[in-house]
């Protein structure tokens, strides 16, 4: 089911959680609502679900206006950050709940329910837990049961509120992969909320970046990373070095290679992997010293110190493959020449 949000606004008292948000999500996508905490992403998700009503604007699901419709009639599946499993029911009864509360005419037989629940338990690979209570499960297991419970009613939209937020790092990684696979299998339109840009980039086919109740940018992960629409997106997605032209000596940047022509803005944002370094004797560049470096697995993050800068711009980060760094044969305190391959300009 496609989702269309028209001019949604929502205030909590004097706090504007969402301001004139319009968003279109085509059927079958796996979308991440990404933003810092308090940006309104969870509120937006709850408005789509019907757990919250917008002050202004309309919510259209499959082209039908559902703004006034109660959550129980919207045909959505909602997965909560803290699972919200029914503590007094077994895993089996939790998953069967959505089928058992259907009106008598639509309610399937117990035999059908049992079959359905077991097939869902197999889908989430937890078939042996059917008789346990939620309190007896680990966080990752609970989250998968919560997902199975939401899927039991065959929702046309799956909404997940920080689904991996309360889990530890390794479980989170596994579940991300697993959610991607599940989405490819089921093709149900899914939206998940996250404040973790890595998670959004890794899992989603579409990322919507929110900030202070507004949408900053919407697009494919690669699009957003390579062509950030504004300074906020550039800063929020991935690491970036920021050069303020009003503070930075422009001829330094010229020598570094990004000011060949006239500047296209006041701030230059440079990704760490767009900075290349060589030993200072070899090439003509600005004299910068190597301060330190860290291993990040396949890449090395190099910390550079630029004495010509004041304040925030004094430390630069560059990233390069391990082999490249070894070839450079650098030591702490060495002078290096910086070459900037690409920059995004913002005002």
């Amino acid at each position: 089911m496609s989702i269309l949000l028209n001019n949604i606004s929502k205030n909590f008292g004097k706090f504007a959680a969402l301001y004139d948000v319009s968003l279109e999500i085509p059927e079958g996508e796996l979308v991440a609502l990404l933003g810092p905490s308090g940006c309104g992403k969870t509120t937006l998700l709850r408005i789509i679900a019907g757990l919250e009503t917008p002050d202004f604007g309309r919510v259209l699901l499959s082209g039908e206006d559902k703004t006034e419709q109660h959550v129980s009639r919207r045909g959505i599946g909602f997965v909560f950050q803290h699972y919200a499993l029914f503590r007094h029911m077994t895993v089996f009864d939790n998953i069967a709940f959505g089928l058992r509360v259907k009106p008598r005419k639509e309610r399937p037989t117990e035999a059908f329910i049992s079959k359905k629940v077991h097939s869902l338990l197999e889908l989430v690979q937890l078939d042996w837990l059917a008789d346990r209570f939620p309190d007896q499960l680990s966080g990752g297991q609970r989250q998968r049961i919560a997902l199975a419970r939401a899927l039991a009613v065959e929702p046309s939209v799956l909404l997940l509120d920080e689904p991996f937020g309360a889990l530890d790092a390794s479980v989170r990684k596994d579940l991300r992969q697993w959610l991607r696979n599940l989405h490819q299998e089921l093709h149900v339109t899914s939206i998940f909320v996250t404040h973790d840009q890595e998670e959004a980039m890794e899992v989603a086919s579409q990322v919507v970046v929110l900030n202070q109740g507004r949408i900053e940018q919407q697009g494919a992960p690669a699009d957003i990373y390579d062509h950030p629409a504004n300074a906020f997106v550039s800063k929020f997605i991935g690491q970036t070095n920021i050069f303020d032209l009003s503070e930075t000596e422009s001829n330094w940047l010229q020598r570094a290679g990004i000011l060949a022509e006239k500047p296209q803005g006041i701030f230059a944002h440079v990704r760490p992997h767009h900075i290349d370094i060589v030993k200072a004797e070899e090439a003509s560049g600005s004299p910068v010293t190597l301060k330190d470096w860290q291993h990040l697995g396949a890449t090395i993050r190099v910390e550079l110190f630029n004495p010509q800068h004041n304040g925030s711009g004094a430390t630069l980060f560059a990233e390069m493959p391990n082999e490249r760094f070894k070839q450079l044969n650098l030591n702490k305190g060495d002078r290096v020449a910086v070459h900037i391959k690409q920059a995004h300009w913002f005002n």
């Binding site: 129980s72 009639r73 499993l85 503590r87 509360v101 259907k102 309190d135």
Partner: protein
């Protein structure tokens, strides 16, 4: 070999618990048993099978049970309102709930008798519009016991309701459950063990209640005479053995009933996955 426990001080804690139990509960209660042992078995049976005694048992346990159930219903609603809805004067109302705990029960009894007697404020109205007389009837006992019992229910249900995870309700709604289904299948099963505790406390208190009841009950033998009153009457007539026999029987019945409630509670909590 003793296993070391994470919590230190098991022995002194157990010793203290047993000491307290002996001093405050077991010694007085065993005195009761010993005293009634002075009676022969036939005397004992004769005393407790006396129709006046049997009627008073029926009155005491019957009214306590009805009152506890009504207090359970009202108390639950009050706790629900106090937890779920913001409204002006909420703190004041919340403080008011505990009043029956603090008020001398005799005072409560006099007040209730005054307003519910046929010429009283509420009594007159009930009499003229429904033809119901509350005071000096078993119904009066029920009213007094409801008054006494409600705070027990409110104070046991309230914290559980407060801690109830409301996202469970949202989850149930999102799965298509109606408001009624959310309440009966999600909220109520989670609150039920606490409600049962509150009701059994109200019941136990009701069985032993004396002060607030005697003023409103009318104390008519066979009709509205409660067991505690009968015991006092016996004591006043220096029939100590008779009084202890009735008291012991009451103790045993109460103990049995509370045991059943505890088992019921265990079952409810196990069923709701809380243990």
């Amino acid at each position: 070999m003793t296993q070391s426990n994470i919590m230190p001080g098991f022995r002194p804690a157990l010793a203290y618990t047993l000491f307290y139990l002996c001093l405050v509960v077991l010694i007085p209660l065993s005195t009761l048993v010993f005293k009634s042992l002075q009676l022969s078995w036939t005397d004992y049976l004769e005393i407790i099978s006396n129709t006046r005694v049997v009627s008073s048992f029926r009155v005491s346990f019957g009214t306590s049970l009805i009152a506890a159930l009504v207090a359970g219903l009202f108390g639950f609603v009050i706790a629900w309102v106090l937890v779920r809805y913001p409204f002006p004067g909420k703190r004041f109302l919340d403080a008011l709930i505990d009043l029956p705990f603090a008020l001398p029960t005799a005072v409560a009894g006099v007040i209730l008798a005054t307003i519910f007697q046929p010429s009283g404020l509420l009594g007159k109205w009930l009499m003229s519009s429904f033809g119901v007389q509350v005071a000096y009837k078993p119904l009066g006992i029920v009213v007094a016991l409801i008054f006494i019992g409600i705070p027990f229910v409110v104070r046991t249900v309230e914290p559980v309701l407060q801690e109830f995870d409301t996202t469970m309700e949202e989850a149930a709604s999102s799965l298509g459950a109606t408001r009624l289904q959310v309440f009966t299948q999600v909220i109520f099963p989670n609150i039920f063990p606490a409600l049962l505790t509150g009701v059994s406390l109200a019941f136990a208190r009701g069985v032993g209640e004396y002060g607030s009841v005697i003023f409103i009950a009318g104390n008519l033998p066979y009709v509205s005479e409660i067991v505690p009153l009968l015991i006092i009457t016996k004591l006043e007539q220096y029939q100590y053995a008779g009084a202890t026999a009735i008291a012991l029987t009451m103790l045993l019945v109460s103990f049995l009933l509370l045991l059943i409630v505890n088992l019921l509670q265990l079952w409810a909590r196990r069923r709701s996955g809380q243990i």
